[in-house]
């Protein structure tokens, strides 16, 4: 993707999001409530401002030269997916197991090639966090279905 397409694409996406949100609350107050009592009164003002700004932003981006830096798309994509999986599995499989698996994946992806260092890190850092929160601060993190200890 060229930089201008990326920049203009983001600006256009913001504009379209503003249009969609405005459509979801209606372009005018259908209930006829006084402004102070209408839940949509303030959001409508803000969305109108956002619509104008994103429209201007989109036009400006289309005419702007120069671009953003290159992106390691595959690595960033994998990390983004890993974050989503982490959020999903943390409360299901407990913090320790999820964090250990996440650490192994991320460290390997970021170029570490020493299995011992990766394994030590993946056990020690999440273990230290679990130890601190669960047993010192007594503010328990989610535990796994396999053991109450982690």
């Amino acid at each position: 993707m060229t930089s201008i397409l990326e920049r203009a694409g983001v600006a256009l996406a913001l504009f379209l999001a503003a249009v969609a949100l405005m459509a979801s609350i209606g372009w005018s107050d259908a209930g006829g409530l006084p402004p102070a009592f209408s839940p949509e009164f303030f959001p409508r003002i803000i969305l109108m401002v956002l619509l104008c700004l994103t429209a201007v932003g989109f036009v400006l981006e289309c005419f702007k030269s120069g671009g953003t830096s290159a992106v390691e798309l595959a690595r960033t994509g994998v990390l983004a997916v890993a974050l989503i999986v982490f959020a999903w599995s943390m409360t299901r499989f407990g913090f320790f197991l999820t964090a250990a698996a996440f650490s192994v994946l991320v460290l390997t992806m970021l170029g570490l090639r020493k299995p011992l260092a990766i394994a030590l890190y993946a056990v020690a850092v999440p273990g230290a966090i679990v130890g601190l929160f669960n047993h010192v601060l007594i503010m328990p993190l989610p535990t796994s279905p396999f053991s109450y200890l982690f």
Binding site: F37, E40, T54, V71, L79
Partner: protein, 498 residues
């Protein structure tokens, strides 16, 4: 006055508070020294540890981490030519050349003393200015509060780094995010799309950690990661002798004054202060020819100013409830978590806590001197750590931090989405501080507008009938359109000259 002072000191000199100050300052320096973390991320990842603490130590811990991290940024700026925080970017210009000459200890010595002096003077300013400003704002009704918040928001956006339109968009997006959930007056759900988990609104901390910390991790991963940085030899801090200050004190006080002044303006931040101060020192210093080659005046200018911002940024935060920057926005969120309502009545309603905060901040800045010497020795080996280890640890702490605030798994989703969204926006140059500040100010801005309309039977004209509100609204409008007005003015001058 005296009983309040006594109570504040009692709060401050408890074992918990003293340990908090020591640990927080140390931790702040170390975290600030690690490139990529920055003050906002440092404060955000420490926040969950404050949840089990009482009010005063919790706020003191965050203040200690804040002040410590601003100073800590200079350690990596000098030792590896990579600023730990954006505030210390200007320190690299002269700090690293000094370190390359084998004077890393002396460079850090200048940075330490300048930081301590900057921080201490800014606390004095905070103690003097904040109560005056707060007393003035106490007479404000909803209409004037609306004008004040509007001005705060426009200032923040107008001075936000880079593109003003992008700053405005980010600020408005923050206002929009603040509206998710139940309407404050009628309770009707807004932008929840039928999802009951969104009725209580989006958690501010999840958004803050997402757009600052998680997006930073994604940004770093999206670029080529550094391996082990080039390291100069360092055998500890060497403080400058008194005689060496001859001819440099004027520059130090000027940079501190600039830092305090810029810090008070909402949204400007320490990085701006450091660069403005560095440029001014380069223009006026008798040693200006040596700037960029390892001149201590350059380090003094940058470090004196960036640490002076800490106290300055707290003036609007404490007095008006308008966060001076993203870090103080997180602090306001912390106060809310601990049952303190930020706003114009903050100082009036919590004099003991505020007294403890002021005195605590003074002590924190004093502690920077001994702890800076100790922590720099600890942080230096950490700078050799591979970035991959640090990024993974930050990510794990983000998840822990967000989960702890409400114990709500939904907040993890909010954080991840905010992180990915923040990454996309930051790549395009959208600043994230206006988004967070918009989110903090949004609810009060809306409430004051609607309360004002209720009081005046829906009359928008009443907002201009109040001289204070009208003035504030006019200044806000001028601030917003100033770049356009200025551009037009320059164009007319050029036309006339031609």
């Amino acid at each position: 006055m005296l009983p309040v002072l006594g109570d504040s000191l009692q709060l401050l000199f408890s074992v918990e508070a003293i340990l908090t100050l020591l640990l927080g300052t140390m931790l702040g320096i170390v975290l600030g020294a690690l490139p990529g973390i920055g003050s906002t991320v440092a404060v955000a990842i420490i926040l969950p540890f404050t949840l089990g603490m009482s009010q005063a130590p919790a706020v003191l811990l965050l203040l200690a981490v804040y002040a410590g991290s601003v100073y800590g940024g200079s350690i990596s700026a000098i030792l590896i030519n990579t600023p730990g925080t954006p505030q210390s970017a200007a320190t690299t210009f002269d700090g690293y050349p000094m370190a390359q000459r084998g004077e890393a200890g002396r460079a850090l010595g200048w940075a330490t003393v300048a930081s301590v002096v900057g921080g201490l003077i800014s606390v004095v300013l905070l103690i003097i200015a904040a109560p005056q400003l707060a007393a003035l704002a106490l007479n404000f009704g909803p209409i004037e509060t609306f004008g004040l918040l509007l001005l705060g928001l426009t200032c923040i956006v107008a001075v936000s780094s880079g593109d003003m339109i992008k700053g405005l968009i980010a600020g408005v997006l923050g206002l929009l995010l603040a509206m998710v959930g139940g309407d404050p007056i009628t309770g009707a759900p807004r932008f929840t799309f039928g999802d009951f988990r969104m009725i209580a609104g989006l958690d501010l901390l999840a958004i803050v950690i997402g757009v600052f910390a998680l997006s930073e991790v994604l940004l770093r991963v999206s670029q080529k990661l550094s391996t082990t940085p080039e390291f100069v030899s360092f055998r500890g801090i060497v403080l400058p002798r008194l005689g060496e200050w001859k001819g440099r004190l004027k520059g130090l006080f000027k940079s501190v004054a600039l830092g305090c002044g810029i810090g008070i303006l909402p949204g400007t931040g320490a990085a701006t202060a450091a660069f403005v101060s560095y440029a001014e020192a380069r223009r006026t210093s008798p040693n200006s020819a040596q700037f960029g080659k390892g001149e201590p005046d350059g380090i003094i200018a940058s470090e004196g100013a960036n640490n002076a911002v800490t106290g300055g940024a707290l003036v609007p935060t404490m007095a008006l409830g308008i966060p001076g920057d993203a870090v103080t926005a997180v602090m306001l969120a912390t106060l809310t978590l601990h049952g303190v309502t930020p706003g114009v009545r903050l100082m009036q309603d919590n004099p003991t806590l505020i007294g403890a905060i002021f005195a605590g901040l003074f002590i924190i800045n004093l502690l920077l001197l001994p702890l800076g010497m100790l922590a720099s020795a600890m942080a230096a080996p950490l700078l050799r750590m591979r970035e991959a280890f640090m990024l993974t640890a930050i990510t794990l702490l983000c998840f822990v931090g967000v989960y702890f605030v409400r114990g709500n798994p939904f907040d993890l989703w909010v954080m991840v989405v905010a992180g990915i969204f923040g990454f996309i926006l930051r790549r395009q140059g959208y600043p994230m501080a206006p988004l967070v500040i918009g989110m903090v100010l949004g609810p009060t801005l809306e409430m004051s507008l609607r309360q004002g309309l209720i009081i005046t039977n829906g009359s928008f004209g009443a907002f201009f009938a109040s001289p204070i509100a009208a003035t504030l609204i006019v200044i806000s409008t001028l601030t917003l359109f100033w770049p356009a007005i200025n551009g037009a003015r320059k164009w007319i001058f050029r036309r006339r000259a031609a």
